[in-house]
Each structure stands twice: as structure tokens, then as C-alpha cells.
């Protein structure tokens, strides 16, 4: 991305202010949804939960997707993770689809599912993070620092040796968030991330979103309509009647 910008500036008119040269250059999206459709049900009972969704996620941006319960927010995120296949259309991350390379596609994403599941009751906080960093194919030499940073980012240092089944709901959510970003993914998908977080937890969450943006990543934050958000989003959409509309 940086190389691309630099090249365009170098070939521009030197008389023009730099800002004018840079401004029209739209950043290439990290992730793209193109014509994504998804149906639920079969035969006459079939209905479209997502209809022709187009969405680009540019580097350094945070995007909010709101919607009523059952509107299709989770479906949209699950399609982005590859857990669900789109009936039509496709999602790319850095130009890759899950069919191109499951490995490379998934190295680039972090996903927080809604709810409070996805932890091993008898495994400690630190081991959870070490495990997920390895599972995400993070190089061994980077893992120790990444785990340390994730513990600090979500205030989990003192809980590092505690088992997951001995954490409060809010602490569990902080651990789930830490697992989502420990491997420094390019694209972070958050499904109702506020779950059980107190004020301090929300500040940590907002800081984590900012950190992803600062390193040139992109965030999608899915939440129910009307929920207060601790983050200033670059764009906000709402899913209504299976379509993605600017809020």
C-alpha cells in the first residue's frame, strides 16, 4: 500500500501541493465484499438475509454495521470468516478468497463471535493466548511479545495464570478480545464486542480498535441498533431488509 502511494506521488506534478496529489488516491481496500448474497431456509421457505452486499474496508478504518436482531450482522461476519459460504458474490482479503488459500486468508483475520463461548474452562489465560498465537501461525520468536502485549492491552497480566472458568464474565470477554487480536490480524471482525464489559473494558476495547487502525488494519464492528459505541467509526451502516445502507 505504502509503495503504491509513494509511486503515485513520485510521478505526480511537482508544482502541486503534496496533499492534493495524495488526496485523490483512494487507498486500496484490505477487504472487499462484492455482490454477496446469502439465503436461509429451503424452497418456498427460503429468504434472503443478505442481498447484494458491497463493502470495502480501507486500511486504518473502523466500520460499524448495525441492525436489528436477526438482521444479518452475524451472517455477514461469518461469511467474512469463511464459516459460511456466500450463495453469490465473494469476500476477499488482500485479494485472497478462502478458496485461493485458506491458510493465508485466515492468517489475516481475527474474529470475535457474539456471546461468551470459545474458551477452554481449565486452560489459563496465558496459555489461551500462547495457543491461539501458535494456531494463527505466528512465528515463534514473535509470540512471547505478542502475548505480553495482549495481556497488557486488556488488563489481564494479573490474571495470566488463572483458569478461564475462574474468570468473571467481563474478564472472559476481555480474554476473548485479546485472543481476537493477539496475532495482529489485518482485518478484525467484532460481533457485539461490548458484551459484559465495564467502562474500563470498553476503553480497552476502543484502544484495541485504535491500535488495529494505527497499524493499517481494518475493523468491522457489528452491534444492535441503538447501542452506544465507545469508538468513532469512519463509516456506519445499517442492515435493513437484507441490504446494507449508510446509517
Amino acid at each position: 500500500m505504502t509503495d503504491s502511494l509513494t509511486a503515485r506521488i513520485a510521478f505526480g506534478d511537482g508544482e502541486q501541493p503534496l496533499a492534493e496529489l495524495v488526496a485523490p488516491v483512494a487507498a486500496e481496500p484490505i477487504a472487499s465484499f462484492r455482490g454477496v448474497w446469502r439465503y436461509w431456509g429451503r424452497g418456498r421457505e427460503r429468504w434472503a438475509v443478505l442481498r447484494n452486499i458491497d463493502l470495502d474496508l480501507e486500511p486504518g478504518t473502523a466500520t460499524c454495521v448495525m441492525g436489528a436482531n436477526g438482521a444479518g450482522k452475524t451472517t455477514l461476519l461469518r461469511i467474512a470468516t469463511g464459516l459460511l459460504a456466500a450463495d453469490r458474490g465473494r469476500v476477499t482479503i488482500d485479494g485472497l478468497t478462502t478458496d485461493d488459500s485458506w491458510r493465508e486468508y485466515h492468517r489475516r483475520i481475527g474474529f470475535l463471535s457474539a456471546g461468551d463461548r470459545g474458551l477452554y474452562a481449565r486452560v489459563t489465560v496465558q496459555r489461551h493466548l500462547e495457543y491461539w498465537a501458535a494456531l494463527a501461525f505466528m512465528p515463534r520468536r514473535e509470540r512471547k511479545a505478542a502475548v505480553r502485549d495482549a495481556l497488557a492491552q486488556f488488563g489481564l497480566e494479573e490474571l495470566a495464570k488463572r483458569r478461564a472458568d475462574r474468570l468473571s464474565q467481563g474478564q472472559r470477554q476481555r480474554l476473548r478480545l485479546a485472543l481476537t487480536v493477539v496475532h495482529r490480524p489485518r482485518v478484525v471482525l467484532l460481533d457485539e464486542p461490548r458484551n459484559s464489559l465495564d467502562g474500563q473494558g470498553l476503553e480497552m476495547l476502543a484502544a484495541a480498535v485504535g491500535a488495529v487502525q494505527d497499524r493499517g488494519g481494518a475493523v468491522i464492528w457489528a452491534s444492535p441498533v441503538g447501542e452506544d459505541q465507545p469508538v468513532d467509526f469512519d463509516r456506519t451502516f445499517v442492515i435493513e431488509d437484507a441490504e446494507l445502507k449508510p446509517a
Partner: protein, 268 residues
Amino acid sequence: MTVAAQYFQAMLATVQRDAAVFLSYRLRFATQVLSMLFTLTIFFYVAKLVRPDAVGAHGKYYAFVVVGIVTMAILTSALHLSELVRMELMAGNFERMLISPLGPVGGAMSMAAFPIAYSCVFAGMMLTLAAAFFGVPVHLAGIPLALLVAALGALAFGAIGLLFVGGLIAYKSAMGAAWVLAGLSLLGGIYFPVSLFPAWIRWAKDVQPLTPAVDLLRHLLVGTTSLQPVWLELVKLAGFALVLMPIAAAVLWQAVKISRRRGTIMEY
């Protein structure tokens, strides 16, 4: 770091995770050892009821059945894989495996690694106890080749376990695993020689990996006469492992594709 090293490290991390969970149950190992001692004792006395030559000229029933039981334990741990995956699905943890670079096939294989490795170690312990307390004549010279046979058997059994994981992911059911386990324990020659069966069913010994695995292990560890030449049994076992594993991986991958399309991948 090479891609192979990344896969290896991710799988190793899963093994470490499973070991940590296993060790967190402090009494589990002790109760398993106790259970093993009960089994060894029961068959020790059952063996006294069996004619010495019932399992061939060079074998004794007790040694014969002990090796059968330890082999069955390895097979059971492999076929239990679908149950482990079901539990992971219920806990919401399999999702994490699915969306990792390791993917569903690598993830399921890595989940099979600890139980199978543990069952192999446990099988070794059982044999040691059987030798120490019940006089089973274990041939030390046969152990290195027996380890190779155990590894090939574990691969073949693991592939069968993966096939059932595919069934679980696509159709939310792996009930066939219990049937296969029961069928193999009957037809595989675990508790009695397959030569006792009527001729019309003896073909069953040639179409599954349990019989060559258990037959080779018996031959190598306690000196029974093998059903077929050792090299042929080895080739058969290696063939099962090499053929079944890619088939199982392809079936599992196809099952994931089906359930991604249906939207049922996270259901259980």
C-alpha cells in the same frame, strides 16, 4: 519459518493444550491405571480357562488378549475423535480452529494427536505391568518394530476417526463410530483368533487395519505366529494408513464445504 513448520507448531500447540487439560484432572490418570489393573486381573483368570494351544502353537491366551486389548485402546482413542469434536462444537471452540490458518483438517488431526499418543503410551504401560505382575513374556527385541507398527496403526485408525468427524460436521451425527468399534472388536481378532470364525466371514480380516496391526504387535511383542508373512502384514498396514489418510482428509474437507454452504457448520 516454513509452512510445514508452522503447521507442526500449531499442531504441537494443540497437543500441549490437550495435555494441559488432561493434567488438570489430577485423579484421571490414577483411575485409568486402576481400571487397567482390573482388566489385566480379570483376563488373567479368564485365561486360565482357555486351552494353552487355543491361540496357536507359540502363544498363550493371556499374552494374546493383552496385546489385543492395548491395540483396541489405541483404536478406541482414534474413533473417539468425533466425540471430541462434538464437545468442541458445543463449547464454541471448534469455530476457533476452523477460522485459524490450520483449518478444519489440520485442526481435527491435531486434536487426534494427544489422545492417540497418550493411548500408545498407556498401552506401553499396560504391557509393562502385564509383564511385571502377570508374567507376560514381552520380547524386548521386538519393541522398535512394534513402535513402527503402532505408529502406522495409529495413522490408519486416526484416518477412520477423521472420516467420522466428516460425518459429524456434514450430518451432525457420528453414531457409526460406536458400530465400527463394536464390529472391529468382534471381527478384528482382539479377544480370539479370526481363525475361529466360519469361513464366510473371514474376509473381514483383510478389509480393515486392526487385524494386521494387532497380529503384528502380537508377533513382535509376545512371539505368536503371524497370520501372514510379516512383510505382507506391514505392507497391508502401511497401505491402509497411506490410502485412508488422504481419503479422510478429502472427505472432511468436503464435509466442511457442505456445511459452510448449508450454514450448519457451527451446529451440533
